[in-house]
């Protein structure tokens, strides 16, 4: 999985490409979030437009990251999850924990 990160208006914009599932992909994502949190970043937007599948490990890291950001007064928001990813998040009861947006701009603006 490819991960690209840029910062806009004090928000970490994370673009994921590939499957977010057990193994290197989840480990990479977890590491990226942990490093940003360690540097004091608490606001994250994760673009999932190019992530066709999220398994339970991927869900776990998303939920864990959401909890970590909220504990620090921030949040982690999702952009364009695929219909199957939405279904998966809903099936395990965590979809409503997240704010979901159609594009990066809206998600970033929501932090203002």
């Amino acid at each position: 999985m490819d991960i690209s990160i840029r910062k806009r208006s004090q928000v970490q914009l994370i673009q994921l490409r590939g499957q977010l599932r057990l193994g290197e992909a989840v480990d990479q994502f977890r590491k990226a979030i942990d490093e940003a949190l360690a540097e004091g970043d608490t606001r994250f937007v994760v673009n999932l437009a190019e992530v066709p599948m999220i398994d339970s490990s991927g869900i776990g890291v998303l939920v864990r990251s959401l909890a970590s950001t909220k504990q620090r007064g921030g949040s982690l928001k999702l952009v364009q999850p695929s219909s199957f990813a939405v279904k998966t998040l809903r099936l395990v009861g965590v979809l409503n924990l997240f704010e979901v947006f159609d594009d990066d701009d809206s998600a970033v603006a929501s932090f203002s």
């Binding site: 499957q19 599932r21 057990l22 193994g23 290197e24 066709p52 599948m53 398994d55 339970s56 490990s57 869900i59 776990g60 890291v61 939920v63 864990r64 959401l66 909890a67 199957f84 998966t88 099936l91 395990v92 009861g93 965590v94 924990l97």
Partner: protein, 146 residues
């Protein structure tokens, strides 16, 4: 390596499509899931159903690798895929571990578990597949998709 097999005496109405054995390592799961997805595509299984089966297989293999084999790549996880003329698909994942009792798993939808970073795999499998059975002692899962 995947192999094509002939008919199975125990499930005479089912055709063996694939029989994989893979090392118990997370990195080995993707190839198996992708191969199964390709096989289902050749069978013209509808996309939504393919996604659901693929994710259920992903979860079952992950559990076998992590919990059944302790991420020990010297151990082997087996995955078999069968189908019948009506298009029903049976996936069987087995590992050499001691097994577990699925009844003892916590419900990930309970309030206190919502923010847990693990514990959703079996629950997700049950949501995605039409029928799920664990063979004693719990180191083999059989999953049906109709």
């Amino acid at each position: 390596m995947p192999t094509e097999l002939g008919g199975n005496a125990e499930d005479s109405a089912l055709s063996d499509l694939i029989d994989f054995s893979m090392p118990a390592a997370a990195g080995a799961i993707n190839e198996v899931v992708d191969s199964i997805t390709e096989a289902l595509t050749r069978l013209e299984v509808p996309e939504q159903k393919r996604y659901e089966v693929a994710l259920a297989v992903q979860e079952a293999l992950a559990n076998a690798v992590v919990h059944g084999c302790g991420n020990d790549p010297t151990k082997q996880v087996r995955c078999r895929v069968k189908s019948d003329p009506r298009g029903r698909i049976l996936i069987i994942v087995s590992d050499p571990g001691p097994g577990f009792s699925p009844d003892l798993l916590a419900n990930p939808q309970q309030e206190e578990n919502l923010y847990a970073d693990h514990g959703r795999g079996v629950y997700l499998i049950r949501q995605l597949m039409d029928e799920v059975e664990f063979e004693r002692p719990g180191n083999e899962i059989r999953m049906w998709k109709y």
